[in-house]
């Protein structure tokens, strides 16, 4: 699987993402600067975590206007897979590749902790190897991760199986108490209608080695490598 990681000014989780792609057996990812207007031929485009433009104005807003995002949108339309994690997810919603928006955490604090995610759809290119019967322990690290969309959008997403991850408790139960950031309907990750663009707030890339926050994130990257190679 060939991949490209997009770098914006303020991106800071590119190393973590590259490590994860390598661990899952992907080829060495290409790093692409936001001012580029074209992408190399790749199977997967990743918008990684960080604080593009310092999260100033609105997370992801300024990065969404970067020249490279036009190329990303074109590739996405042509069916190339795109993964947006954390700030990457925020950017994908800003450019309209995914519905909804990410707002300030309900507790008004940055949250860094390993959190159980319930896998709601394991029939995607991103999740087909993720064991659906137990929660995926995944670190979160964000200040603005509360997912919002209007009720019709939310209903449509649910109806179409496009809510891929939800914040849950250790037993996989989706409860109010497990909703760490106040996301509507505990939503932690959503996919586009074609099933090719996934955005999620948690960081599966930080759960890809036993010495880190466990290995529950590895099946996600393996899923991609298997499907896209």
């Amino acid at each position: 699987m060939k991949s490209a990681i997009i770098l914006f000014p303020g991106t800071n989780r590119e190393k973590d993402m590259a490590d994860a792609l390598r661990r899952a057996g992907g080829a060495e990812p290409a790093m692409v600067w936001h001012r580029e207007t074209t992408l190399p031929p790749v199977d997967l485009i990743v918008a990684p975590g960080g604080f593009s433009y310092g999260d100033y104005l609105r997370c992801g807003a300024m990065a969404g206007n970067s020249p490279i995002m036009r190329a990303v949108a074109e590739r996405a339309k042509a069916g190339v897979h795109v993964l947006g994690v954390c700030n990457g997810f925020q950017i994908l919603t800003e450019v309209g590749l995914l519905p909804g928006a990410l707002m300030r955490n309900a507790g008004l604090k940055f949250i860094c902790k390993t959190t159980p995610l319930r896998i709601e759809n394991s029939d995607t290119a991103f999740t087909h190897l993720c064991p659906p019967d137990r929660p995926m322990m995944t670190p979160v690290a964000h200040n603005e991760g509360a997912y919002v969309a209007d009720p019709e959008t939310l209903d449509r997403l649910e109806g179409e199986g496009r809510v891929v991850f939800r914040y849950a408790d250790e037993n996989g139960a989706v409860t109010e108490a497990a909703n760490i950031n106040g996301s509507q309907r505990n939503i932690a990750g959503v996919i586009n209608d074609a099933g090719t663009v996934l955005g999620m707030m948690p960081h599966p890339e930080n759960a890809t080695a036993p010495h880190l926050a466990g290995v529950d994130g590895l099946p996600l990257f393996r899923s991609l490598v298997e499907r896209l190679s």
């Binding site: 000014p9 989780r13 310092g54 690290a141």
Partner: protein, 726 residues
């Protein structure tokens, strides 16, 4: 040009003697810009005039030390052509005024110190002291400081992996915010501030200069400016986004060989950076101040030289490399300006639109910087009697202690810090020392910040010693070989002999411990005048230490790993006095008596034993004994592993003084095979006591003296979030 009046001189913090030296150096009266330069160079902050003679007594050498104090940060060899670069720095006063921005800019400043040296920051730590939790300002300060530290470090993409927090009424009017950064560099790619090469261009990069942080009193001087300056804000706002770009741009340029020398602009901004670079290189420097990128209209040379705007760097480049450097900085969308050149005049020359603005000989400016041998009186050691062992069960006291402000879980704090980023964090906050792997290697670095101010107040010398020893111990407990330390001396007004005595005592204790433990000092920072209405803070010499694990797979952690392990206490001098223990303060309401003694030879021997046990795979959990004594250490190990413990029947007559004393030099270890551990301890001459066995889901001190982990965890985790919810 405004006249230099005695008032103006006083407002600049120069004594009449110091001003006379200025006149002698210049052979004439200074103008306002020159006065400003002298004043900041000779400020306590830049000149270390009260502390310098004492800091010189600290041991700074060792085979591992590449660069000791005197540069932006210390540099220590970790093998394979790699070096660890680290330093700690205070931002106490700004954090009290505006906790978010004060703490944030403190973190930004210390990171610049580290990446100026060519190192990529890989971890941040912080040591925080706040006033009484009941004081009306405390909650606001805690919330703001923690958010500010997280806000800056998280945005920079540097994990914040450790720290410490104390609460005490002595900090009501002066909180302490000490931030430490650890970076990684290649030994043959370390960058220094020494300028050289006559004619070489001097380059300014980073943010534009504004009127940030220019001292209010100085600015209010009517002679100096007609504007109504009195209300001009002096709060500096941090811009971590710009600093992230600055970091990447600097590292990119450092990968070439275009840089001759580089220096961040910290306190005293352009003045101290340019003077230090010139002085170290024995050269002159000319700055064309009108070329400095400016954020505001109408800025004067005086303001440009004194501004403390953040996120800026000064560099000397090799001739002809300007365009290459400019290209990199423009790619990162940062300001870049050639603002001067290195000269052979030995002068700091400032010009504005071609006209001379100031001319000061660099060497005398630096060499004549005042040094004071301040009078000091040693702190009398308290002669209060030892505290006899109080009766009563252990479990309820432990529960109270674990829920007290100084012992309660810091989870509420560290969950606001991104400790995962970069994907190398092997030990997240909550253990003894944080451990961060060196990328693409099997090595890891352990790091910890420590100080016990109540000991330092009772006995500064023991307190200084203890801080070094505890830091060393925390590193050892993870299996790391301690390498070197950085320190942050936070004290009151050094012009008071008693306060100066605390400072001297702490230094003497630190020196003894650093020598005995071969744990040299490679960098540090001094923050004096931490007083409000004449009341000083507790003497707080914070020690930040770094150690090396050559095989990170052997890393040890404090969590009990399962049932059926013997728990053994190693080390200590047998003392069971409760004086100055957290138990005495929190349960008995006593803050008197002597601080625990530190037997440095025993400390060293116990540490070597523990390292050998870890290396030999003979133990599977290890924790040092500090605040709260053995009982608290047991509780932390049990909570971390979610595995209980039951006291050895032989211990059932032991009371509070056994479980809560804070005798130094001790570790608790857990092992499935106690025989070899006890044997090794005996060979090493280290006391070893079998405490009992792991298992169950409670701590059992005796037949009717137990507490469930669930209950203990509830109390331990609740205090800080409950307090912050107000």
């Amino acid at each position: 040009m405004s006249a230099i009046t005695p008032d103006l001189i006083a407002e600049h913090g120069l004594s009449p003697d110091e001003y006379q030296t200025v006149l002698d150096i210049l052979g004439r009266e200074p103008n306002i810009t020159e006065l400003g330069v002298f004043s900041v160079m000779w400020s306590e902050h830049c000149s270390y005039k009260s502390s310098r003679i004492w800091l010189k007594t600290l041991p700074t050498e060792g085979p591992q030390v590449i660069q000791g104090p005197g540069e932006n940060a210390g540099v220590v060899d970790i093998g394979d052509g790699q070096a660890v670069v680290f330093k700690i720095e205070s931002h106490n006063h700004p954090s009290f005024i505006e906790p978010y921005q004060g703490a944030a800019t403190g973190v930004g400043g210390i990171m610049r110190d580290v990446f100026t040296m060519g190192a990529r920051p890989i971890a941040n730590l912080n040591a925080l002291r706040f006033g009484d939790p009941a004081h009306p300002k405390t909650r606001h300060l805690v919330g703001g400081v923690v958010a500010g530290i997280g806000g800056y470090g998280n945005c920079m993409g540097v994990p914040t992996v450790g720290g410490e927090v104390n609460f005490h009424p002595a900090y009501n009017g002066n909180c302490l915010v000490n931030a430490m950064t650890v970076g990684l560099a290649t030994t043959d790619k370390i960058f220094y501030s020494k300028a050289s090469g006559i004619g070489n261009p001097v380059v300014y990069v980073g943010s534009k200069t504004g009127r940030d942080g220019i001292h209010g009193a100085t600015m209010a001087s009517a002679e100096f400016s007609e504007e109504a300056e009195a209300k001009r804000p002096t709060v500096q706002v941090g811009d971590p986004f710009t600093e992230k770009l600055l970091l990447e741009a600097c590292l990119e340029l450092m990968a070439t060989d275009a840089i001759v020398s580089i220096q961040d602009m910290g306190a005293a901004g352009l003045t101290s950076s340019s003077v230090e670079m010139a002085d170290k290189g024995g050269v002159g420097i000319r700055l064309h101040l009108d070329r400095v990128p400016m954020r505001e209209d109408g800025m004067t040379p005086y303001e440009l030289m004194l501004s403390e705007s953040q996120e800026r760097m000064l560099m000397v480049l090799k001739p002809g490399r300007e365009d290459e450097a400019r290209g990199i900085f423009e790619k990162w969308e940062l300001d870049f300006a050639v603002i001067g050149e290195i000269t052979d005049t030995g002068l700091l020359e400032l010009t504005w639109a071609g006209e001379p603005e100031a001319s000061i000989p660099v060497a005398p400016l630096v060499e004549a910087s005042p040094v004071y041998e301040r009078p000091w009186v040693p702190t009398e050691p308290p002669d209060a009697p030892a505290i006899a062992s109080p009766d009563g069960p252990i479990a309820p006291a432990l529960r109270r202690l674990m829920g007290s402000p100084d012992m309660a879980s810091r989870r509420w704090i560290w969950e606001q810090y991104d400790y995962y980023i970069r994907g190398e964090t092997l030990q997240v906050p909550g253990g003894d020392a944080a451990v961060v792997r060196v990328p693409d290697s099997n090595k890891a670095l352990a790091m910890s910040v420590d100080c016990t101010p109540r000991y330092c107040l009772a006995d500064p010398e023991r307190g200084g010693m203890q801080a070094v020893a505890e830091c060393w111990r925390n590193l050892v407990a993870t299996g790391a070989r301690p390498l070197a330390l950085t320190n942050n001396m936070n004290f009151g007004n050094p012009e008071k002999p008693a306060i100066m005595g605390q400072f001297v005592g702490a230094i003497q204790g630190m020196r003894a411990a650093a020598l005995a433990l071969e744990f040299p000092v490679v960098s540090g920072n001094v923050s004096l005048y931490n007083e409000t209405d004449g009341a000083a803070i507790l003497p707080t010499p914070v020690i930040g230490g770094v150690g090396l694990l050559s095989d990170s797979t052997k890393m040890m952690s404090l969590a009990f790993k399962g049932d059926g392990r013997a728990v053994i206490a190693l080390g200590g001098d047998g003392s069971t006095d409760l004086s100055e223990s957290l138990y005495a303060r929190e349960i008995l309401g006593s803050e008197s008596g002597p601080a625990p003694a530190v037997d440095l030879a025993q400390e060293r021997a116990a540490g070597e034993l523990v390292l050998a046990l870890i290396e030999g795979g003979l133990i599977d959990a290890c924790h040092d004994v500090s605040d709260g004594g053995i009982a608290a250490a047991l509780a932390e190990m049990a909570l971390a592993g979610d595995v209980g413990w039951r006291a050895d029947p032989a211990l059932q007559s032991e009371g509070a003084s056994f479980y809560f004393n804070e005798a130094q030099g001790r570790y608790l270890v857990a092992t499935a095979d106690p025989g070899p551990v006890l044997e090794r301890a005996q060979q090493a001459g280290i006391a070893a006591i079998r405490l009992g066995e792991t298992g169950g889901n409670a701590l059992h001190f005796g037949p009717n003296d137990a507490i469930s982990l669930e209950s203990l965890r509830g109390t331990h985790e609740a205090w800080l979030p409950d307090y912050m919810a107000g």
